[in-house]
């Protein structure tokens, strides 16, 4: 009887192995595809290139036993190009995960399509709406405005003593979203901005905006601008002799942005960010930064690191046995992951990052120092 049951179980096991197990083993040997769809050209080229670099660094060094292939495609800065790139990736590469653009407007167009295909999008986009639309495939590895803007506003008010800040923000989704959050947090702190000035990404001359800020009696500047405009605003504020402190958005932490400004003009200027690989002296971070420099002949930034961490979490999902896009999605949603920058865990809507830091420049070098940490700002972790 016992033998019969054992034999039956063995037969059943063999049948299951033949029906499911054997093909599964064969599939496990096949490399899995990951698509990298990021803006490499256009006004987000700096951020997008950092994303690409971070993703590629992770995908080139998968954990033991994990084999992946990847394709990189430029999404430029229009939703049309991004959607076309996404459709091409879904149709031709069948990816289990996609490194997706930092540009929120593109993400808003891509998310419903990826949702229908059930393929997770791994992004560093800060646009708040992205994780509020009910899609369960968006995973954001850079803190949202609800985290980093809290750090920016609190540091400006509580540490620098700003009482009459002026906000210069970009006319893009990034700028408008950050501005809304800044105003909200400032309001909670009992401070009302004396000026809120929208700046088109193409504007090179910030003097009129700075004049208006001075005329409004601003005692400090809060910037929510992309890389190039941030550098221009900081430089022109210095040249014009604007005396109040400046706390910029995460764009200023990027070494490529700081490289556009003389160290003297950066004296006392601070910025929010999720991390700063060039400032962190830990061994692991230093190794990452050095490998990045060797590979791309550029300094790593927080966007590169966040995308690196995000793709490493995808690889961890694959190492844990996820073989399909859906399985990767479920693993990302249900697990914690200790990345280089921070520990990541979903808040239930795909927001994985919950820490922020404030970096400041000393006026002598272009390497900022971490001045303050704001951990678990949204209380998720």
């Amino acid at each position: 009887m016992h033998m019969t049951i054992t034999r039956s179980l063995m037969t059943l096991s063999a049948a299951v192995a033949l029906a499911i197990g054997m093909p599964a083993t064969a599939q496990a040997d096949d490399p899995l595809a990951v698509s990298v769809l990021v803006p490499i050209t256009g006004f987000l080229a700096l951020e997008g290139t950092a994303q690409r670099n971070g993703a590629v660094m992770a995908l080139d060094n998968p954990p033991e036993g994990v084999r992946v292939t990847y394709d990189v495609a430029d999404t430029a800065t229009s939703p049309e190009v991004a959607v076309t790139a996404l459709r091409r990736a879904l149709d031709r590469q069948k990816p289990v995960a996609i490194a997706a653009p930092i540009f929120g407007t593109q993400m808003l167009a891509m998310a419903p399509i990826a949702d229908r295909a059930d393929v997770p999008l791994i992004t560093v986009s800060g646009t708040a709406k992205l994780t509020e639309l009910g899609h369960d495939i968006v995973f954001r590895f850079f803190p949202t405005d609800a985290v980093v803007k809290v750090a920016q506003a609190r540091y400006a008010v509580q540490d620098l003593g700003m009482k009459r800040p002026a906000i210069l923000f970009q006319t893009t989704a990034y700028g408008q979203s950050g501005r809304t959050e800044l105003v909200r947090v400032l309001g909670d702190l009992g401070v009302a901005p004396v000026l809120e000035e929208a700046i088109d990404p193409g504007i090179k001359d910030f003097v009129p905006a700075l004049e208006r800020a001075a005329a409004a009696g601003a005692d400090g500047l809060l910037l929510q601008l992309h890389s190039g405009p941030t550098a221009l605003a900081v430089r022109q504020a210095h040249e014009r002799g604007f005396e109040g402190p400046i706390v910029a958005g995460s764009a200023l932490h990027q070494p490529t942005t700081a490289a556009l400004v003389e160290p003297a003009a950066l004296a006392g200027v601070c910025a929010e960010s999720a991390s700063s690989p060039v400032s962190d002296s830990g061994a692991e971070m230093a190794a990452f930064a050095e490998a990045y420099r060797q590979r791309f002949e550029a300094e790593p930034d927080a966007f590169a690191l966040a995308q690196y961490d995000g793709m490493n979490m995808v690889l961890a999902a694959l190492a844990a046995g996820a073989r399909t896009a859906e399985a990767v999605k479920i693993w990302l949603a249900g697990n914690r992951f200790q990345g280089l920058a921070m520990e990541y865990v979903s808040d239930g809507t795909g927001n994985m990052a919950h820490d922020a830091i404030i970096l400041c420049y000393d006026g002598l070098t272009r390497t900022p120092v971490v001045r303050k940490r704001y951990d678990n700002v949204d209380g998720v972790r």
Binding site: I40, T41, A73, P79, E80, A85, D91, T105, A109, A173
Partner: protein, 557 residues
């Protein structure tokens, strides 16, 4: 026969049908998405060809109208809950109205002023959609539902492809309607021969209104499809990139050619996709390809196709005499005109009687051409009276004067490109009347050749034929014999005499006395804007003042 006439169009149709069949057969969803995008841009480019190609106006508002269409659909479906198919209707109507509104303020602007004014509109649209709450700000509007008709989902790759390309076919039909019934000739004349167009009584405003409205409707429809294809509309759709793409499609396709535009869209829209793998270098590669296309194909893709596969000439119509009117005299009295510090005319006048050739002579700058311009309404007079029999003309528009029988030939004939000789002369008349006018000037055998292929002498005859086609009662010609050989001058003299004999009043401004004196019944000699002498030709030629001021002793003898 008709198939032979349209064989170029048939070749394009076969090409696109074959490409469509291959695409559907392959079943590649990504390729279908790109082909849908090609169709979307082709629709907007077909509309742009009407304004840019046919009217010659660099209207940089087409991209903005595309965006208005996209936002109209998004607003109606996302905010108001309209079904997308109704939103698609709105995406046609709103930009069409916007296009008409654009046409009104720029109705009298030309060249770079049109570009500047429409660029301003495009910037306004971009600013509005970026900053208005109702348009979703920089994030735009998302969550546009897929296109369904009676519950039937049309958003699938091949269904959407079919819907968009059916719309391309409809856009081609709309374009054919907008340029049909002789309108192609009128648009070409307004574009390349604006003075002749005015003198012929063509109405630039109504033609611009029509072109901008149709262009707006097509741009809006394309924008609607764009919104449906993406499921989201953002300010990116209002950025200048869209306008540049449409401009590139129009130029590479060939100015004014819709088939060229559709073909260029099929090449240029997928090109960034092809080069995208080059990452940062792709913009360079795209730019080089675009430049190479413009340099290698100066007349565009359709220009090349025309050379390789020319359409057979259309049949020529039977000549039909235009309606003739009867008048007795054109009377011009005490006309004055000042340009800044120069008194061009100072009380000048003349009578031109039916059945006579009236010559106007005088030194350069004496006011002869200005006088003709005032009579035909191309210039306004500071003072004076112009009457056609009892009808005062100075308060009439050039169009009304043309309707009363005034026709004008020019010192430098303006010849429109892209149309044949018969279409050129028939812009203000029937084809039959145009054919009759060509027979009259000896150009009937050249009726179906491109007007721009004519030599200088033939162009002068064409200019006269264009004036004659509408059946004028008064024909005013400005130096019609200049540049003609002896034989051609003799032929022209015979023609003018015959026209006068038929009851027309012929007024000829001319420097060539050997040509004018034998045919002129009466002469008017101008000097510094005043009439030095007027009367029968012999009497004026003997007038000592005329001899001293203009003719000289040799001519007088």
């Amino acid at each position: 026969m008709r198939l032979a006439v349209h064989r170029r169009g048939l070749a394009y149709v076969m090409l696109f049908l074959t490409a469509g069949a291959v695409l559907l057969g392959a079943g590649d969803a990504y390729a279908m998405r790109v082909a849908t995008l090609v169709g979307t841009y082709a629709i907007a480019a077909i509309g742009f060809q009407l304004v840019f190609g046919r009217l010659g106006l660099l209207a940089l508002s087409q991209g903005a109208l595309f965006a208005i269409g996209a936002y109209a659909l998004a607003l109606s479906s996302v905010h108001w809950g309209w079904p997308p198919v109704l939103g698609l209707v709105l995406s046609v109507v709103v930009p069409a109205l916007a296009g008409a509104l654009v046409a009104v303020p720029i109705a009298r602007l030309e060249s770079h002023y049109v570009a500047l004014a429409t660029l301003g509109l495009a910037q306004l649209v971009l600013l509005a959609v970026t900053n208005l709450e109702v348009t979703g700000g920089a994030n735009g509007l998302y969550g546009i539902p897929p296109l369904t008709v009676f519950g039937f989902d049309l958003s699938d790759s091949w269904r959407m492809l079919a819907v968009v390309w059916v719309a391309v076919a409809m856009a081609l039909c709309v374009f054919a309607w907008a340029t049909g019934a002789g309108r192609a000739g009128r648009l070409a004349t307004l574009r390349d021969a604006p003075h002749a167009a005015l003198a012929l009584g063509l109405d630039p405003i109504s033609n611009r209104l029509l072109a901008f409205t149709v262009a707006g409707a097509l741009a809006g429809l394309a924008g609607g499809f764009q919104a449906l294809g993406l499921g989201v509309v953002s300010p990116a759709v209002a950025r200048f990139d869209v306008m540049i793409t449409l401009l590139a499609i129009a130029v590479v396709g060939g100015r004014g050619s819709v088939w060229g535009a559709v073909t260029a869209a099929a090449i240029l829209v997928p090109l960034p996709e092809v080069f995208r793998g080059l990452e940062q270098a792709y913009l360079l590669a795209y730019g080089v390809m675009l430049l190479a296309a413009v340099v290698a194909l100066p007349t565009g893709i359709d220009g090349l196709v025309r050379r390789v596969l020319p359409d057979a000439p259309a049949p020529t119509p039977t000549p039909a005499a235009p309606k003739s009117r009867k008048i007795s005299v054109l009377r011009v009295e005490r006309v004055a005109k000042r340009f800044g510090g120069v008194q061009a005319l100072d009380g000048a006048g003349f009578d031109a009687r039916a059945g006579e050739v009236t010559g106007i002579i005088g030194a350069n700058g004496s006011g002869k051409t200005t006088l003709l311009n005032i009579v035909t309404g191309l210039e306004t007079a500071d003072a004076g009276v112009v009457r056609l029999d009892a009808i005062p003309l100075l308060n009439h528009s050039p169009r009304a004067r043309a309707g009363l029988g005034l026709a004008r030939g020019f010192q430098h004939p303006e010849i429109p490109g892209g149309i044949d000789v018969l279409a050129t002369v028939s812009v203000a008349a029937t084809l039959g009347a145009g054919m009759a006018a060509l027979e009259r000037v000896g150009l009937a055998g050249r009726a179906r050749v491109p007007a721009t292929s004519l030599g200088p002498a033939e162009r002068r005859r064409l200019d006269i034929a264009r004036a004659l086609a509408a059946g004028p009662t008064i024909l005013l010609l400005d130096e019609p014999a200049s540049g003609l050989g002896a034989g051609e001058r003799a032929d022209l003299a015979v023609l003018l005499c015959a026209l006068a004999k038929s009851g027309m009043a012929v007024v000829v401004v001319e420097h060539g006395m050997d040509f004018l004196l034998p045919i002129a019944d009466r002469l008017v000699c101008l000097d510094a804007g005043r009439v030095l002498a007027a009367g029968p030709t012999d009497a004026v030629c003997r007038d000592p003042a005329v001899i001293a001021a203009y003719l000289g002793t040799e001519s007088a003898s």
